[in-house]
């Protein structure tokens, strides 16, 4: 069992906040990781038997769920969207805070609605469907990968479900947040079977747990 552990991190928003947390847990990527010109996707770490892969947030969950990576960092929005039973999210890293919300055009927001069928543009079709199902509403989800805010003004959908941190993008596009579905923060995730069969994964969880409780206390 000398194969290095693979640790998946998401590109973008969460990564900048995650790197210091990872460093305190003893995972420091090699210099090439920070080189913008470097096209590599897989990186060594300083002095550890951990390899880091940098992929899209949704793919972090997929790699870890399939056991191709043993651990990773990803937002609770992604964990909830996939709801993979193979994923454990043992540590709330208390970083990357935002919320997943419903937003509607300012003009129609707040109007009473008795619709049993809605069209929603979102990157999170599963969460959206579950959210509306709980209210007895069929949500027809139009899956977009970005720029959700355009959908209502172009008539693609009546509302959107998307991540909101400051609300600035919504405002600039004539939308207003009408309902908060969930609070989001970044979590350490590990593969269920890996945690139970490889003691290094459990040690990793302990390290991150110590770091997280240190920062929040």
């Amino acid at each position: 069992m000398t194969k290095p552990l693979t640790f998946a991190v998401p590109k973008g928003r969460i990564l900048d906040e995650a790197l210091p947390v990872m460093a305190r847990a003893g995972i420091v990527p090699e210099a090439g990781f920070h080189d913008k010109g470097n096209r590599a996707l897989s990186f060594d770490t300083v002095g550890g038997d951990v390899r880091i892969i940098r992929v899209r947030a949704f793919d972090v969950a997929t790699f870890v769920a399939h056991g191709a990576a043993q651990a990773g960092i990803v937002g609770s929005d992604v964990i909830e969207e996939f709801a993979y039973p193979e994923l454990y999210a043992p540590v709330d890293l208390e970083i990357g805070h935002c919320r997943l919300s419903v937003a509607e055009p300012v003009a129609t927001a707040g109007l009473p609605s008795a619709a049993t069928h809605l069209r929603v543009a979102t990157k999170y079709p599963n969460i959206t469907r579950r959210h509306y199902e709980a209210q007895g509403v069929q949500a027809e989800c139009i899956k977009l990968n970005g720029a959700m805010e355009l959908a209502p003004s172009l008539g693609l959908s009546g509302r959107i479900v998307d991540l909101v941190s400051t609300g600035r993008t919504l405002k600039d596009n004539g939308l207003v947040e009408t309902y908060e579905i969930m609070q989001v923060s970044a979590r350490l995730i590990v593969n269920r079977a890996a945690l139970k069969t490889d003691s290094r994964v459990a040690e990793l969880v302990e390290k991150f747990r110590a770091v997280a409780s240190g920062t929040s206390a």
Partner: protein, 374 residues
């Protein structure tokens, strides 16, 4: 477009070609031999039963996961089996109701589900299992765990790891030491299962947080579980876990995850999952449960069992020992060939002069009464 897909197999179903089928036969035989050796008698229930009898025998069985259709004879709904444990439970509660207890039964057969499980699209599996009916004591659990490990070792699995769990732990705690609003129990169980500390707080299960940390290697996890143990409600369970672990000895790595519920639909106080080196996901699962009586004032019966799903072992073990194959040319002496087969040779008889022994994978050729290496 129409005919192109004629030979396509449906999602999650596959053929086992000779190499895999041979390995599967070896595994099945090895596992059943071990179970037979420990006094477990084989039973062979049918592939299809009434949905009602499959669904009603144990709490938590989901008929939604079964292939179902209407029986033209009885006009009742039939289901293809998705778990043979339920069928063995039926046998124990009906035909073998009068048999002395504890009753030891084993079985092997294909099971199908209408949908794959999570990330795994497989819909047909080989299930090998043993059920010890009439007991769900620590001794019964110890016997079944040890039996499962011995069977898997015989099948060729290496680097075994057993994860213990306490399936009814949350219900026990919620009813006593750590009271919980019944409406919240399901949410708390879900977040505990996902090991999601943040989600658990959000679901109102703060008091249950320490359970998340009571996972890992058995001794360490038990120490932490004992700290949570408000009022000693878990003392007997902890003692039970230690006794079962002692039965295993050093033959497998043992971990504890008291709140694992993945795959434990009907287990009661004790459950376990077995992992093997090189195999992604679990290879076996078992625990204690109760078989519902057939009604009419009967009583539920305790039982302990294990199911092994060895399909994934094939990837690790498919290359079995190289076997000799003897080519019998046209006009060979049939009596000689029969004698050689009787002492263990595998033979391939030529049908025409054009048959090429090497191309057919033969290692030897029969010359007169003597096999010679090719």
């Amino acid at each position: 477009m129409t005919d192109m897909n004629r030979d396509l197999l449906p999602e999650g179903l596959e053929d086992r070609l000779p190499r895999d089928a041979a390995a599967e036969t070896r595994i099945t035989r090895a596992v059943l031999d071990v179970m037979d050796g420990h006094g477990y008698d084989r039973v062979r229930p049918p592939l299809i039963e009434f949905e009602k009898s499959m669904a009603g025998r144990m709490a938590g069985v989901q008929p939604r996961r079964m292939f179902r259709f209407v029986d033209p004879a009885s006009l009742r709904t039939l289901a293809l089996r998705s778990d043979m444990t339920v069928q063995v439970g039926r046998i124990a509660a009906t035909s073998l109701a009068a048999a002395p207890r504890p009753l030891r039964l084993c079985y092997a057969g294909q099971v199908v589900t209408i949908k794959g499980d999570g990330l795994d699209p497989t819909r047909e599996r080989l299930q090998l299992g043993a059920e010890l009916i009439g007991a769900d004591s620590v001794e019964a659990a110890g016997e079944v765990v040890a039996l499962a490990i011995e069977a898997l070792e015989a099948a060729g699995a290496r680097g075994l790891s057993v994860d213990f769990t306490l399936p009814d732990l949350v219900d026990t705690l919620a009813a006593g030491p750590l009271p919980l609003d019944p409406a919240k129990v399901e949410d708390v169980r879900r977040e505990l299962d996902a090991k999601d500390a943040g989600g658990l707080k959000a679901a109102g299960g703060d008091a249950y947080l320490p359970l998340l940390y009571a996972t890992g290697p058995l001794d360490r996890a038990i120490a932490k579980l004992a700290e949570v143990d408000a009022g000693g409600a878990l003392a007997s369970r902890i003692a039970g876990l230690r006794a079962i672990a002692a039965r295993v000895g050093g033959r497998a790595r043992i971990t504890l995850d008291p709140t694992e519920r993945h795959g434990f639909e009907y287990q009661s106080w004790f459950g376990f999952t077995i992992y093997a080196e090189g195999v992604r996901g679990a290879i076996g699962r078992g625990g204690t449960y109760r078989i519902r009586s057939s009604g009419d004032g009967g009583v539920d019966e305790p039982a302990t069992g294990v199911s092994l799903y060895t399909d994934q072992l094939l990837d690790v073990l498919a290359d079995g020992p190289e076997r000799d194959l003897l080519f019998l040319p046209i006009g060979h002496d049939a009596a000689v060939a029969a004698r050689l087969r009787a002492i263990g040779w595998r033979t391939v008889a030529a049908l025409s002069d054009k048959d090429d022994p090497r191309a057919l994978g033969c290692t030897h050729m029969l010359h007169g009464s003597e096999p010679r290496t090719l």
